[in-house]
């Protein structure tokens, strides 16, 4: 499985599936136990493919899985 899809699954499973449950880069790094640089690279790939959306809240960049991203993740398990 490509690294960014594995990463997308982790984000989905921890519950970052809507803007009110979005996470900061640091929070994602802690949840996924990935270095911030690797997190950033994966996020960029997933934003480009419309699986992750970036928002700004409380002065920080936050990320959550889009509907397309949720479907992408769930397609692996059904």
């Amino acid at each position: 499985m490509p690294d960014e899809i594995y990463f997308l699954c982790l984000l989905h499973n921890v519950g970052a599936t809507s803007s009110d449950r979005s996470l900061t880069l640091d929070e994602i790094s802690r949840w996924t136990v990935m270095e911030p640089q690797r997190v950033r690279e994966n996020l960029e790939k997933l934003i480009n493919t419309d699986y992750i959306q970036k928002t700004f809240r409380e002065g920080s960049e936050r990320y959550h899985v889009t509907i397309n991203g949720i479907r992408k993740v769930l397609s692996m398990y059904s």
Partner: protein, 384 residues
């Protein structure tokens, strides 16, 4: 009824199955409550043509998938427990392993029978159990069937697969196929307009695949067949609708055939688009290497498109070779190409397949027929 997916949360065939079955059960006079997972934009509760649908918020997550499923089952269970204070349930019906723990808990505290429908199995999906997660899922599937009073399988091939693997007693098993709502396909569609939306000209032929982009769907074998099809039918264009983790790999493979400009990956498509595409296609290819049922074959047959499917599992029970469609050798691009070329070359033959296929779908695979049989399973489970 418990299901991890229900429209608009559509992942595989389970959502469509539950959507069709629950509405048909209501028409037969049953009171149906369906508990499922949340989805962005979908209401927490809605009445879908008499079906009471509850979407449960998952308030806690975990990176590991299996752990996540146990967490969401906890929230499903809370919802069922709360509903049971207002509703006197007679049967608990679950679909696949994902809602097993809620189903078993509900069965025990409600003291009511549990029925499960098996849509696919882990050993079938991955072909061979290797990872700890796969062994865990396999164990949960066994547990689900052990605890269930009745087990519904969607095809005879599925029954053979499961009975052998799980040593399931035959008296527990009922084989009831999937069904579709054929009324969706009884409307007029401007095929040229649909094709042109995808850049396909009126004289070009549309070869369609719809499904998840995962290895079990065998899309790589269709991609490998493309050069053999284009050699005979330069006017063929290929649309791959659906998403999945192997999409990137398949896109790379498509480009390497030298015909990348003729193969388009559409990603997930909504249901309305799905019906229009099926009704506008010249051939529908289902190249799966594992398919316990294959509901997309029924959709293609109802939509009036010649179906080329792998000669495996449920597909070989739905499609009668040379009568309601064509069966290709699974995992064999030459065989797929031969069938597609035949369908594209011989209009009268294709039309004959289409007429036979439509009749078979109407006669055998309607939700009304299937819901009656599921209803009989419920009655039997309640009496025992």
């Amino acid at each position: 009824m418990l299901s991890w997916e229900f429209p608009p949360r559509i992942v595989g065939g389970i959502a469509r199955h539950c959507y069709g079955l629950t509405r048909a059960l209501v028409k037969l006079g049953h009171e149906v409550h369906l508990v499922t997972l949340e989805f962005p934009g979908a209401p927490d509760f809605e009445d879908v043509e008499g079906v009471k649908v509850y979407r449960v918020k998952i308030e806690l997550g975990h990176p590991n998938f299996i752990t996540w499923t146990f967490i969401f089952n906890h929230f499903l269970e809370k919802k069922v427990a709360s509903l049971s204070n207002q509703v006197d349930f007679d049967v608990v019906h679950i679909h696949d392993w994902l809602t097993t723990s809620t189903g078993i808990a509900a069965k025990n505290y409600l003291n009511k029978p549990m029925v499960c429908t098996v849509h696919s199995t882990e050993v079938g999906r991955v072909q061979q159990l290797r990872s700890p997660d796969s062994y865990m899922i396999d164990g949960l599937e066994w547990w689900m069937m052990y605890e269930a009073k009745s087990v519904i399988m969607c095809s005879n091939s599925m029954t053979r697969e499961i009975s052998d693997h799980f040593h399931l007693p035959s008296e527990k098993v009922s084989v009831i196929p999937n069904a579709i709502d054929t009324s969706e396909y009884k409307r007029n569609v401007n095929k040229e307009a649909v094709k042109s939306r995808y850049g396909i000209g009126p004289y070009e032929k549309l070869v369609l695949f719809i499904g998840r982009l995962v290895p079990q769907k065998g899309v790589e074998h269709l991609v490998r067949a493309v050069p053999l099809i284009v050699k005979q039918h330069g006017e063929a264009r290929f649309l791959i609708a659906g998403d999945g983790w192997s999409r990137g790999h398949l896109e790379g493979m498509a480009a390497s055939t030298g015909h990348g400009d003729k193969i388009h990956f559409l990603g997930f498509i909504p249901d309305s688009e799905r019906v229009e595409l099926l009704m506008s296609a010249d051939v529908l290819v289902i190249p799966s290497i594992y398919e316990p049922f294959g509901i997309v074959a029924l959709e293609g047959m109802a939509a009036g498109v010649p179906v080329v499917a792998s000669n495996i599992g449920g597909l070989s029970e739905i499609v009668e070779h040379d009568r309601t469609g064509m069966l290709a050798y699974a995992g064999n691009p030459e065989s797929i190409a031969w069938c597609v070329n035949k369908a594209l070359s011989d209009y009268r033959y294709s039309n004959w397949l289409i007429q036979n296929a439509k009749k078979k779908v109407d006669d055998v695979y309607s939700w009304e027929v299937v819901a009656k049989r599921v209803s009989e399973v419920y009655e039997k489970a309640c009496k025992r």
